[in-house]
């Protein structure tokens, strides 16, 4: 938790919020109703003039290309002062669509749904010269199949609701991210992160540094990842990093320099609850120093350090709840030797719940009640001297068990009323056991939904979005059919169809390129047309049959139609049925044209296919596709959950009262449990959010303050 005390910044936030409120109020007053929205042709009769053209997007990610969109404005056929025409509205939508396609060329999402709407608003129907506004709205998202499902993203959604999705899809060659922060232990500190995208095994080089008058932290790392195909493992990350830290710990200091080699893996979602399992390992070596006086305990104030860290963890995510649990084990030495000097055990479990009001008005702020809880405990088994920096200190700063891993796994007690590294009243020594428990409750009371009211209440919008989800699911089901062994038999039987098509193709190749001009046109023209259709159909069907790996996905298209009696009339016949119809048409034409042998082949192939097709359809229908459906549903459940968050949960601006409670202690410590009780407000803006509040220390001891004002601030650079 970052703590910041700044009156000026608070004043600025109040000012920003006031301006937003005034603008929203002014917009509401200005709006006029279009009485014929369901029949926009009413406005396209040449008597309405365009007053204003707006390009809007509810997702801040698109603000990254707002300059391109604004540049587009001048290219649109709808312009202020021009007569409104529906066809111009459509053309403008197409121009925006193309610009978004160009913008997304460098992204590589696994799935994406995008909706572009063009419509009219704010119609002045009573004036002498009727006017209206043209509004284009864009909704887009994509899902990172790895991050979307994980605990840390859900947590990020809670703390940065407007920016999380955008952050996961931001990509760039070079990212530079400065930041400024404050906590009571490190005081005001500032730094930056430079991330360079690399070719080869390592995807990124990252350098970060931060410093203050009493501390400094520097990190250098090379990291990479891979996504194995056809494996239970969804993703593997690996990393080599060096970290140097020089931090205050009460009256003393902790200095560490550590080199790490790390690997992490996460599974694909398994089970009906879409659980994801994680494992990680980190080999570490380095040194640590303190400036405390030599002490007569098992703690070592200055020493080398080496060790192995490993963990297992799991996450579950449902629409309302997220659950994460981890166990970590660390085997450590206190010098350049192989002696096992200590064993550290850590348990960390978190539970997050979000309750969404059931009767939400489309576009209004989602008044979500969010509960975040975390329980963490640790134990050091001392086999020999233990480096001080490896012991438990605790305070209002979170420490990850394995630095650099996206998996958030606390390794120190966390309590918001006590400065960093000050929970242990002895401060200089640290404890060998700890436990901490944290609760945060927030309820949005004011704001604006990420999907504005105009879009959320548009009769076309939600059905189109739902339709796209259905399409995605059915595409996945069809794809997964190819993984079912039950289709192997029918795929093999398709070889006899292929053999008939070989005969047919040979016959078609014997026909002359141009039929004799002596043939009457009522024979030559349909014959030519059907020959071309049959030739292309043969090529297409043979191509599909020979692609055995993907054949099951296309069997329905090859073999089945809803109604074989009427399908020829509406082009809905299966490909084999259509080909057979071509052959039945060709057979007498060929005979009339004097190609008796070709006619006989056409008849024989048609009859053979007529016999085979019903049997193949029966075999197809006998296959149980439920396994493919289950696999697709597992994927879509996760996509759907995220999409539902956009539609039903997320706000682009929200104000939430926050209540907090923490309890934590380390052993040995004569003061026992310490507490934090407090409250505050969380303001979430598009890509910027703050939580401000006060955590009281109800039982302050010598040297403790009565509590601390906490101020959490996050700015995410999402435009790279």
């Amino acid at each position: 938790m970052r703590i910041f005390e700044s009156v000026n910044l608070r004043r600025s936030l109040i000012g920003v919020t006031s301006c937003v409120l005034i603008l929203l109020a002014a917009t509401a007053i200005k709006s006029q109703v279009c009485t014929h929205k369901a029949d926009p042709a009413f406005y396209s009769q040449g008597n309405y003039t365009i007053r204003e053209v707006k390009l809007e997007s509810p997702i801040d990610f698109l603000h990254a290309i707002s300059s391109q969109l604004n540049a587009l404005r001048s290219q649109l056929p709808v312009q202020p002062g021009k007569i409104f025409r529906l066809v111009d509205l459509s053309t403008g939508k197409d121009i925006i669509d193309k610009a978004l396609d160009d913008e997304e060329k460098n992204l590589d999402p696994r799935s994406r749904i995008r909706v572009v709407l063009g419509r009219i608003s704010n119609c002045d129907e009573a004036g002498p010269t009727p006017k209206l506004d043209v509004v284009y709205r864009v909704f887009t998202t994509n899902y990172n199949a790895y991050l979307t499902h994980t605990w840390e993203l859900k947590t990020a959604e809670l703390e940065r609701p407007a920016t999380t999705a955008a952050t996961t899809q931001a990509r760039g060659f070079l990212t530079v991210k400065p930041y400024i922060d404050y906590n009571r232990a490190r005081q005001l500190h500032a730094g930056g992160l430079l991330r360079l995208q690399l070719p080869g095994v390592f995807d990124h080089l990252e350098i970060s540094s931060s410093g203050s008058s009493n501390s400094d932290v520097e990190t250098f790392q090379l990291s990479g990842s891979s996504e194995p195909e056809n494996s239970l493992i969804s993703r593997v990350d690996y990393r080599i990093a060096y970290t140097h830290e020089n931090l205050p710990a009460g009256a003393n200091r902790l200095r560490e320099g550590t080199l790490r080699g790390q690997a992490f893996a996460a599974t694909r979602p398994v089970s009906k609850h879409a659980a994801i399992f994680r494992v990680g390992v980190s080999f570490e070596g380095g040194n640590q120093q303190t400036n405390i006086a030599p002490i007569n305990t098992s703690a070592v104030e200055d020493s080398g350090y080496g060790g192995l860290k490993t963990y297992v963890g799991a996450t579950l995510r449902t629409k309302k709840y997220s659950l994460a649990a981890s166990y970590g084990l660390q085997l450590g030495t206190s010098g350049a030797n192989t002696n096992l000097d200590f064993i550290k055990h850590l348990v960390d479990a978190g539970f997050t719940a979000r309750w969404i009001p059931g009767n939400q008005t489309p576009g209004d702020v989602h008044k979500v009640l969010a509960l975040e809880t975390q329980f963490t405990a640790g134990l050091i088994q001392e086999k020999g001297p233990v480096p001080v920096a490896q012991r438990f200190f605790g305070g209002n700063h979170t420490h990850n068990f394995i630095e650099g891993d996206t998996w958030q796994f606390r390794s120190q007690p966390f309590i918001r009323s006590i400065p960093e590294n000050r929970l242990d009243s002895r401060a200089s020594l640290g404890g060998n056991r700890f436990v901490s428990f944290n609760v945060t409750l927030a309820k949005a009371i004011w704001g604006r939904a990420i999907i504005p009211k105009d879009i959320a209440s548009d009769p076309d919008f939600l059905p189109a979005l739902e339709a796209s989800k259905v399409s995605a699911r059915n595409i996945l089901v069809t794809t997964y059919l190819s993984k079912l062994p039950a289709f192997d038999t029918i795929s093999a039987h398709m070889d006899s169809v292929d053999a008939e098509l070989v005969k047919l193709r040979a016959m078609l190749d014997t026909l002359p390129a141009d039929f004799p001009s002596s043939l009457p046109s009522e024979i030559s023209e349909p014959l030519e047309e059907n020959r071309e259709l049959a030739t292309d159909a043969t090529t297409i069907i043979r191509s599909i049959i020979q692609d055995k790996k993907n054949l099951p996905s296309k069997l329905s298209s090859l073999l089945k139609e809803a109604n074989s009696t009427t399908c020829l009339g509406d082009d809905s016949c299966s490909q084999l049925t259509s080909l057979r119809a071509n052959l039945r048409t060709m057979e007498p034409l060929l005979l009339s044209a004097g190609f008796a042998q070709a006619s006989a082949v056409a008849k024989q192939v048609e009859e053979s296919l007529s016999q085979q097709q019903p049997q193949l359809v029966r075999e197809y229908d006998s296959v149980d596709p439920s396994a493919a459906v289950r696999m697709a549903d597992a994927d879509m459940k996760l996509v759907g959950t995220t999409l539902d968050s956009f539609v039903n949960e997320l706000n682009w601006i929200a104000v939430s009262p926050v209540a907090i409670f923490d309890a934590a202690r380390v052993w040995p410590d004569r003061f026992g449990f310490r507490y934090a009780v407090g409250g505050g407000m969380r303001l979430s803006l598009v890509n910027f959010n703050v939580t401000v509040g006060y955590a009281v220390n109800p039982q302050p001891h010598a040297g403790d303050s009565r509590g601390a004002l906490f101020f959490t601030m996050d700015v995410t650079d999402i435009f790279k």
């Binding site: 042709a41 396209s44 529906l86 197409d94 059905p463 739902e466 297409i540 329905s556 809803a562 082009d571």
Partner: protein
């Protein structure tokens, strides 16, 4: 058909689980100069040999949907592709690929793409 509702497009992109094929399906509703409704279907297919390669365009097809199919196009826009349609879409992808190599006519590839709408059940 009367001009009802807004002009909009719904654009779906999905990468198959083996990460080797990227399918795009886009349904657009727009207006003609006479204010009547026009539906376009765009179907795209990209492929790559390995997951580490970048996707390469196989073909992009844009098909104007016949007036007789408007009801099915509208149903597709509102309810999504059914499984019969997705199978037809995969087959249309193969046809598109063959057309790009010159092995079948563009007319046949267009017919395969139109069929994606035509085979809709209800």
């Amino acid at each position: 058909m009367p001009a009802t509702g807004t002009a909009f497009s719904v654009d779906l992109l999905i990468v198959t689980p083996d990460q080797l094929r990227k399918i795009t399906f886009k349904l657009s509703k727009s207006f003609k100069p006479d204010n009547s409704v026009n539906w376009d279907l765009q179907f795209g297919l990209q492929e790559r040999k390995k997951t580490t390669d970048t996707f390469a365009d196989v073909i992009q097809l844009k098909v104007n949907i016949q007036p007789a199919l408007h009801a099915k196009a509208e149903a597709t826009a509102k309810k999504g592709l059914d499984q019969t349609q997705t199978s037809a879409a995969f087959a249309a992808g193969d046809s598109a690929k063959l057309a790009s190599k010159g092995e079948i006519s563009k007319a046949s590839a267009n017919a395969a793409a139109r069929r994606v709408i035509a085979v809709r059940g209800t």
